[in-house]
């Protein structure tokens, strides 16, 4: 019987959700980080520039206040202020403009676009008479931002890997491994079953001999009894008694036991073979009207039902896809048990109902028979076990057989019982016909 686990492939909902989450996280990191970096650096730079512009403007404002009409012509001083800009690091240009926008003085470097500029007014007693402007190139910042973007992208990829690829890969690996285990298990099981089947099969040959020759002995002995009896008459009374005891009692008795044991052995072997054969049979899944099937099965017990005055009720029994033989044999078996193990003195009541869940149909066969003791319930499905009073004939193999059958189709069977009140057997079969071999 093979197990087909659900592959954690790329189409599972869980995987899709994780993928979306991972992509989202990656994009977030890849865009937010560089953006944040850019904004932080940009505004810091602007702030620094503003401070510088402000500083210079104070000086120029003082010049303007001193020399309101002619401050623009204080070339040397103005130039000096502007030239005192820091020359290490970022290239920049500083310019002083008069109120009409005419350039008064400037100290400039060659700046590549795009540019960022910050201005601060030149104030003469609070009135704006010009502006100090500082310009820097945005390029270094952009360059650094692109590096940051590259790093973030890498980080994003790492995150993506950690969230999406690594866990799922390890899960897939684990699954592959568990599949391997499952396969190995199946193979081992198959080997075991073949082994058991083989042995059970081979046990038959010696059994033939056991029974055969014990039969031969019996018939041979019977054949020579007349002659023996004649011979016995020649013996003394005591000797005759002894020989007679052996010939007429001990030997037949021994042969009887040998025979009985060989028969028992044979039935066990048959049971094993029958159980083993279940796995070799192909499942024949078809749509089955379970109500019709149950009614037909009940007809087999029509005699017993009438005789013991058992009332049988049926609930709504659905259509489902299953193997006909599995259903027939298991339900027949359950009905057989329900009808057999009644409580004497109580009118038998057997109800057969079905419940449908998302994946399975659960049949319940409930009786009000003698029930099963709590200690014994776990033995119910054991092979060759019979539980409770052994006053009714039965092999005790039926329920183990049913369990194997039902399992074959991917279902399950269990039982609940209260001693003295009744038993309910539940049989679940997968809706879709279950696992295929």
């Amino acid at each position: 019987m093979q197990i087909a686990p659900q592959h954690l492939n790329n189409s599972t909902t869980a995987v899709q959700r994780i993928t979306v989450l991972a992509i989202f996280a990656t994009l977030l990191i890849a865009t937010v980080l560089p953006l944040g970096y850019f904004l932080a650096v940009y505004y810091r730079e602007l702030g620094a520039m503003e401070a510088e512009a402000k500083g210079d403007s104070f000086y120029v404002s003082a010049l303007a206040s001193e020399n309101p009409r002619l401050w623009q012509y204080q070339q040397v001083r103005l130039q000096d202020v502007l030239d005192r800009r820091p020359h290490k690091g970022a290239m920049e240009s500083r310019t002083v403009y008069a109120f009409d926008g005419k350039m008064v003085a400037e100290s400039r470097d060659n700046l590549g676009p795009p540019l960022m500029r910050q201005t601060y007014p030149v104030l003469d007693a609070g009135r704006p008479v010009g502006t100090v402007e500082i310009t820097r190139s945005l390029r270094p910042i952009l360059l650094r931002t692109s590096f940051a973007a590259l790093l973030s992208l890498t980080l994003g990829w790492v995150i993506f890997y950690l969230i999406r690829i690594m866990p799922i890969r390890s899960v897939q690996k684990a699954e592959a491994q568990s599949q391997r285990y499952a396969r190995e298990l199946e193979e081992t099981n198959a080997d075991l079953r073949a082994f058991i089947f083989g042995i059970a099969h081979d046990l038959r040959a010696p059994l033939v001999n056991l029974k055969g020759f014990s039969g031969e002995l019996r018939s041979d002995l019977a054949g020579v009894m007349p002659e023996l009896r004649l011979g016995l008459s020649a013996l003394s009374e005591a000797e005759r008694q002894r020989v007679a005891a052996v010939l007429e009692q001990a030997v037949p008795e021994a042969l009887g036991y040998i025979d009985a044991s060989a028969s028992k052995l044979d039935s066990l072997v048959n049971a094993i073979l029958q159980l083993s054969r279940i796995d070799f049979r192909e499942l024949n899944l078809e749509e089955i009207d379970s109500e019709a099937l149950v009614r037909v099965a009940l007809q087999n017990f029509a005699g017993t039902i009438k005789e013991k005055n058992i009332r049988v009720t049926l609930g709504v029994l659905p259509y489902l896809i299953a193997d006909r033989l599995v259903m027939e044999q298991s339900l027949t078996n359950l009905l057989d048990n329900a009808c057999k193990y009644l409580e004497p003195g109580r009118a038998g009541l057997v109800s057969i109902t079905a419940e449908q869940s998302k994946d399975a149909v659960i049949f319940s066969v409930k009786d009000n028979g003698r029930g099963i003791a709590a200690d014994d319930i776990h033995k119910v499905f054991e092979i060759f076990r019979r539980v409770g009073q052994q006053d009714t004939p039965g092999e005790g193999m039926g329920l183990a057989f049913v369990k194997a059958l039902v399992r074959r189709q991917g279902g399950n069977i269990w039982c609940e019982s209260v001693l003295g009140e009744g038993t309910t057997f539940c049989l679940s079969l997968p809706v879709e016909g279950g696992r295929r071999s």
Binding site: E66, Y73, D83
Partner: protein, 282 residues
């Protein structure tokens, strides 16, 4: 920022009062005082004031106002814009200024001198020493007093003259300009003040400024020769700063007349007495 030194002009009060009095006396409407503003290099402020005073004596209706130092480039720009009447430059005009319509005439040359504090012992200096001092190799006077260089802005005419002395001087100047925390004087007047005040100071100035402003500075001999107008004339002292009168298309007529006066032989004595060598120049 320190205010430039204002030279006293007592002589102007009387002509002005006289003019007003006379204009009040005469019934004729008085011409408003024509004010001619002159600005530019601080070097020439002193001599310009003298020249202005002399001109005013001749033509009382005109008032020559010599503005505080605005530097050569500022002065020329102001003159080009018409904000002032005439500019005085301490260097030759550049192409842009000429293209703008500025016309410069060299009216005098004044020796460019190295000065130090009156209290400072040394009396002379050599070119080699200057290079060492400006390049920060020599940091103290022979007496042990630290040399405190008073620098000027890099583009200022004095700095340019220093750089032009020799390639070594140019390098040395670059080093001095780059060093942090050096004393920087924006104008000629501030520079003179600084050198006068600060112990161990060394700076550059011009003879005409020292004379006209009566600066308490010690003029150093350069390579053994004492700076003087005669020295300039006979070539024994080579360093000089030119004084160039700059007129522009916007220069008013009255200002041109003053310019003509400055260029005339009448102005020569005033110039020469103020530490300037007059032309014609080769």
């Amino acid at each position: 920022m320190s205010k430039p030194l204002q030279s006293r002009r007592p002589g102007l009060y009387f002509p002005v009062l006289a003019v007003i009095f006379l204009s009040l006396l005469s019934a004729t409407p008085v011409l408003a005082n024509e004010i001619i503003q002159i600005g530019g290099t601080g070097t020439a402020i002193g001599v310009m004031k003298l020249l202005g005073a002399a001109y005013e004596k001749k033509y009382p209706a005109v008032h020559i106002e010599v503005l505080p130092s605005m530097g050569t480039p500022g002065g020329i720009k102001a003159a080009l814009d018409g904000a002032i009447a005439i500019a005085v430059a301490g260097r030759a005009l550049n192409d842009e200024e000429i293209k703008g319509g500025a016309v410069g005439v060299e009216i005098a040359r004044t020796p460019f001198v190295f000065v130090t504090n009156e209290k400072n012992p040394p009396t002379g200096i050599t070119s080699a020493e200057l290079v060492n001092i400006y390049s920060q190799k020599t940091l103290a006077w022979p007496g042990g007093e630290p040399i405190r260089l008073v620098l000027r802005p890099a583009r200022e005419t004095s700095s340019m003259i220093l750089k032009a002395i020799s390639p070594e001087m140019e390098n040395a100047m670059a080093i001095a300009q780059a060093k942090e925390g050096m004393i920087l004087a924006a104008t000629d007047q501030e520079s003179a003040e600084a050198v006068a005040k600060i112990p161990g100071a060394l700076g550059a100035s011009t003879l005409t400024q020292i004379i006209t402003e009566k600066q308490p500075l010690k003029v150093l001999a350069l390579n053994g020769s004492r700076p003087s107008v005669r020295g300039l004339a006979d070539g024994s002292y080579k360093l000089y700063k030119p004084i160039i009168l700059v007129t522009t298309p916007k220069t008013p007529e009255a200002a041109r007349r003053f310019a003509a006066f400055v260029l005339s032989a009448e102005a020569h004595p005033i110039l020469e007495n103020s530490g300037n060598l007059t032309g014609p120049f080769k």
